[in-house]
Subunit: 220 residues, 2 copies
């Protein structure tokens, strides 16, 4: 019976316990640029470093629920679609204690959540994806992995969550794609491909204030 010894650990009540944290890459699209929400730590370790918003999993809550709680406290963000990315378990990834982190990403509209302070010195801020500084812990790695997963998802489906307003032009959607994928796309081919996915509905409304008077679309 010793063969199944290791299995018992799944039930034994004195097994090693450890803090589980959730970290979330909150992506937003604003001023035609993909942005990421970061928070600045006010305590050690990594005091004054920017990191991904996150925190410990709470007793009686799942990981997504814990994320929602963290984000809700920080920004008022709630009920957003979360995508699980990966789990990080390196022993020395937290300098003080053992922490295993599970990362998620979320896609939101920054303008829906007034977390952007007026001044530039702040403990919570949207960063352009190209301007992300060195982050605390292994969070640059988490961000890279989340972005990869987002790109993969975007290439396959048409998932852009809450990144755009309800009504948007095809050009705005294309610019979102170009921003996330980091490559330029042909306008006509993009329109063709997106429209034949049959996930958008034209509204017959025109966007004012823009030359050409582009048509507005909405998600089906």
């Amino acid at each position: 019976m010793s063969k199944i010894g290791p299995l018992d650990t799944a039930v034994s009540l004195d097994s090693y316990e450890c803090t589980i944290a959730v970290e979330c890459c909150v992506f937003g699209f604003q001023d035609n640029v993909l942005k990421i929400l970061l928070v600045k730590r006010s305590i050690e370790p990594f005091k004054d470093y920017w990191v991904l918003p996150g925190g410990a999993m709470n007793e009686g809550k799942t990981l997504p629920e814990s994320i929602e709680e963290v984000l809700s406290n920080l920004t008022g963000i709630r009920k957003i679609a979360l995508e699980q990315v990966a789990c990080y378990s390196n022993v020395e990834r937290h300098p003080i204690k053992r922490v295993v982190s599970v990362s998620y990403y979320a896609l939101v509209k920054p303008e829906d959540y007034p977390v952007i302070p007026k001044n530039y010195i702040s403990d919570i801020m949207w960063f352009e994806i190209g301007d992300v500084p060195e982050l605390g812990f292994d969070h640059n790695r988490l961000l890279t992995d989340s972005l990869s997963k987002l790109r993969d998802n975007l290439r396959q489906n048409l998932v852009f969550g809450e990144l755009l307003p309800d009504l948007f032009t095809l050009k705005e959607l294309q610019e979102l794609y170009e921003n996330i994928l980091g490559e330029r796309l042909d306008r006509r081919n993009f329109r063709k491909k997106i429209l034949q996915m049959d996930l958008l509905v034209p509204t017959n409304e025109k966007k004012a204030g823009v030359k050409g008077g582009p048509e507005l679309y909405r998600k089906k």
Copy 2:
């Protein structure tokens, strides 16, 4: 400063701790069928249920290291390529205590690991993927998710780990693909596609005992 309260949990030393388990879908290919290694529990909860091999993460070990330890104890399997699949955190997924599980999959050659007992009543056994019974905990779900991920990976790259012997024919490889993907493939188109991936090397050796005398290949 209350805004960043939740963040502090990542460092506070009295945060909620919880058991972290790793579970592994060990896939093998034998007798031309995709199989999965299951173990039978000898203790409650889910006594006498089959489950995925797994166990608690150990102090000072990463999750992959913990998996390797579990598998090494069970089967002598070691140093295998693991792919992380997902993390499961439902509160009631373990009936006795809170356990968060991270699942992985691995691809091995069953014949390398003599875990198959002579008789059919056993605590560790390879199951054909179509004959998997109702498993303990939420392990049917974990298995489904792992299989999906394996299929996705197989469709994109040429990843079949240790599922085949060092030397194999293209037909054997094709049958592996067909088994995992659950669909039939055209022989000529499959050969064309696989060969132009430039990941196999022909050996000029012929497989004996098979009509037609097919050529053996090896992974580059």
